[in-house]
């Protein structure tokens, strides 16, 4: 790490070697996606699956075994029950640098205490960092990030950008245009919907540059959906308010976005007192919505799993002695019905929980209506890419497309696609961009430049205001 005194003022641009490797770090609120990319020395394209690592960006404390897991150490954890999380990224921006530094040290650099070394061994002096942040960041947080990267960690160069902007360099998810985008060149018109952990942002990109007046943010993200699911389950069946990890797994296993909310809600209703609907065992149509989720107990069952609902299971289990803890097989079951699709519905109708905001489709239209030209709007509507972890929910893309389709004019072409790997898409874009040396030379700020010109100049350069 850097051994220089903090008061150095000598310009380093003449003496320090130009960084030859680039570390692409997609710093998300839920996970970090990190990997190296070198310009055109290897012929093959960067492959998201093998070149990048996904590291949980959190510090977790378990009261059961009294251990604190930082970042990648979470993979060693055996018992996820009642795990308390603290995230250094709040609302999409790195706020708590102390925790973030701890996570970065263990995942990016060699950390002395850890025998097997870090996930990636990075020498910051020789590496340029491509760091992502959420759009519309407060300037103070941007300055903090720049200072930490250069002064504390000592990276050789930095390019700080918004995550959607990197997506423009990734291969196009639409089959008709996929073949024609070479590495290192951005797509022409792209509307990126980043459904992330903290929030969902909508960013129209023109040749990789965002049209700022049309960027919008919807304050519903994966975290909101998980918390809403926690509330619903706790009110109806079983108190899971302290089980972040478990409810996150339940959400990933079981939740989906329904294409016709009213009909699905009808299917799952038990009926009022005077008009009882048929209950679930006689093969009626709500059988496929209500599921039984088997909870993990971290001794025999390591990971929960859903299975189709069986109304008599509790009675049978009691008869067989299962679940009573009397030495046999133990199985705790959570019955999940309409929470499966009601919780993700808040992405499309945030007013359901009282949030004064339009849903995803409405926000997309709000964003596009600020653009002056109808042609631009149509161009963006024809190239909508959904990225981010929350977009992995089944049915989200279909529902978004249906809603957009029904709201805009019939003659307009609407194409909505989900990126191939939504979690690593921005990383992939960054990796492809980093292979193009010219682009990198234009946008990366080296350490020498940072110390010479100061943080305000650097911030303006990243915002695209200087020397484009």
């Amino acid at each position: 790490m850097a051994r220089q005194k903090p008061t150095t003022t000598t310009p380093l641009s003449s003496s320090a070697p130009a960084p030859n490797r680039t570390l692409i770090l997609d710093n998300g609120a839920h996970t970090l996606k990190a990997g190296f990319s070198t310009p055109t020395t290897t012929d093959r394209e960067p492959n998201a699956a093998t070149d990048s690592h996904t590291i949980p960006n959190t510090i977790a404390r378990s009261h059961r075994d009294k251990r604190t897991y930082i970042g990648p150490e979470l993979a060693d954890c055996a018992d996820f029950g009642e795990l308390a999380f603290r995230r250094p990224v709040e609302r999409g921006y790195i706020v708590n640098w102390e925790s973030e530094k701890a996570v970065w040290e263990r995942s990016l650099f060699g950390f002395e205490g850890r025998g097997e070394g870090a996930v990636l061994a990075c020498e910051p002096q020789e590496t340029s960092l491509v760091l992502t942040e959420a759009p519309n960041a407060p300037a103070v947080l941007q300055r903090n990030a720049d200072e930490m990267v250069f002064e504390e960690f000592g990276f050789g160069g930095l390019f700080r950008t918004t995550a959607p902007a990197l997506c423009a360099y990734a291969p196009s998810p639409f089959p008709s245009t996929a073949s024609s985008s070479p590495s290192g060149l951005p797509l022409e018109c792209l509307l990126v919907i980043d459904a992330g952990h903290s929030h969902t942002t909508i960013t129209p990109l023109y040749h990789g540059r965002p049209l700022h007046t049309a960027c919008r943010r919807l304050e519903v993200g994966g975290k909101t959906i998980t918390n809403q699911l926690k509330e619903l389950i706790s009110q109806r069946t079983f108190d899971v308010r302290r089980e972040d990890w478990l409810v996150g797994e339940i959400k990933e296993d079981v939740c989906y976005v329904s294409q016709s909310f009213n009909q699905d809600l009808e299917k799952v209703w038990r009926g009022g007192r005077y008009d009882q609907r048929s209950s679930t065992n006689d093969g009626s149509s709500n059988n496929d919505i209500v599921v039984d989720y088997v909870l993990p107990d971290y001794e025999t069952i390591k990971r929960g799993y859903p299975r189709p609902h069986d109304a008599g299971v509790n009675v049978r289990n009691r008869a067989l002695g299962i679940g009573t803890g009397a030495g046999g097989r133990r199985e705790h079951i959570l019955t999940i019905g309409n929470e499966r699709f009601v919780a993700p519905e808040i992405l499309f109708t945030p007013s359901d929980i009282g949030m004064q905001s339009e849903g995803l489709c409405g926000t997309v239209l709000q964003a596009l209506n600020t653009l002056p030209s109808a042609a631009l709007r149509e161009a963006f509507l024809a190239n909508v890419v959904v990225v981010g972890g929350a977009s992995l929910m089944p049915g989200l893309v279909g529902r978004l497309e249906a809603e957009l389709r029904s709201t805009v004019d019939e003659a307009v072409l609407v194409r909505v696609a989900r990126a191939g790997d939504p979690v690593k898409y921005a990383w992939l874009g960054g990796a492809r961009m980093a292979r193009n040396e010219e682009v990198m030379r234009e946008v990366v700020v080296t350490r020498g430049e940072y110390f010479e010109q100061g943080d305000l100049w650097v911030r303006r350069k990243f915002a695209g205001k200087v020397g484009r």
Binding site: P6, A84, V95, A139, T213, R236, W269, I353, G354
Partner: protein
């Protein structure tokens, strides 16, 4: 059956002399207008809030507003909880480093980084700082020049002022520089027919609906606008003419059809309402 909570408010009874008195029950119910509400000696008040609201001259606007403000605060508290990153004030101390790293001062290498690492601010603080900065200096950090001041102290009488939108508060979060931009932009809409006219000179196709992309200069202008601030970029609320927010049953999640008279939450049916009354009611009421 006058238990503690219920008291009958007997209206004031006068026995009217009639010409024919029969052996009839010795009282008659007579409705007297006003009654106990106006006579303080007989108005014991009621602990039933609903009756008090309705009968004692109705609620004033102030009281109605207080009730809805309380509900609003409750909703906002729930939303903050939903969007909170850390469950219930989790405090996790970072373990000390195993051995001191080479040259590594634990708290950061330069004064700037020491300050950053030691600061306990969370996002709300940074946001407030940013808002204060903008309010104070009128511009965002990092912009080349200040945007033209949105409004001078105008001497135009109110009747003749045109309404301007205030950028960070109103529902349409466009920055104020949009309105004072170069004339290219507002003329974009009218520029299109003249662009289209050129297209039609070449081919005699249909005139109507093939809009063309705006010119490069316009797009460059759009790209060069400064990024929005955090609050400006937030999605705006739906228009007031849209459908009302949907209410769901608290117990089972179906549509809410019946509103609980005490706490206002909705349930879908009598069965769910019973469950609500047993366990969940009166939560907001304490």
């Amino acid at each position: 059956m006058a238990t503690g909570a219920l008291r009958f408010r007997t209206p004031h009874i006068d026995e009217l002399p009639t010409t024919q008195s029969r052996q009839a029950p010795g009282f008659a119910w007579v409705a007297v207008a006003g009654g106990a509400q106006e006579d303080p000696s007989k108005n014991w008040g009621t602990t039933n809030r609903k009756r008090a609201r309705v009968s004692l001259g109705g609620q004033t606007d102030q009281q109605r507003e207080a009730v809805s403000a309380k509900q609003q605060r409750e909703i906002e508290r729930k939303l903050r909880d939903l969007n909170s990153d850390n469950a219930k004030d989790v405090v996790i101390d970072l373990p000390k480093k195993h051995g001191v790293g080479v040259g590594g001062v634990k708290a950061g290498k330069t004064t700037n980084t020491k300050k950053i690492l030691a600061s306990g601010k969370n996002f709300a603080h940074y946001l407030d700082d940013e808002e204060a900065e903008i309010a104070r200096t009128g511009r965002r950090d990092g912009e080349a020049e200040a945007p033209p001041p949105p409004q001078r102290a105008s001497k135009t009488p109110l009747a003749r002022r045109k309404t301007r939108e205030d950028s960070s508060i109103s529902g349409s979060p466009a920055p104020s520089t949009m309105q004072t931009g170069p004339p290219l932009l507002p003329r974009g809409a009218q520029a299109l027919p003249h662009l289209r006219a050129n297209e039609n000179d070449i081919e005699n196709e249909d005139y109507d609906d093939t809009p063309t992309l705006p010119s490069d200069a316009e797009i460059e202008y759009l790209l060069s606008l400064p990024p929005l601030t955090y609050t400006q970029a937030r999605a705006a609320p739906p228009p007031a003419t849209g459908p009302a927010p949907r209410r769901f049953c608290e117990t089972c999640g179906y549509w809410g059809r019946v509103k609980c008279s005490k706490c206002g939450t909705m349930t879908c049916s009598v069965a769910c309402k019973d469950v609500h009354d047993l366990d969940k009611c009166m939560k907001m009421y304490t």
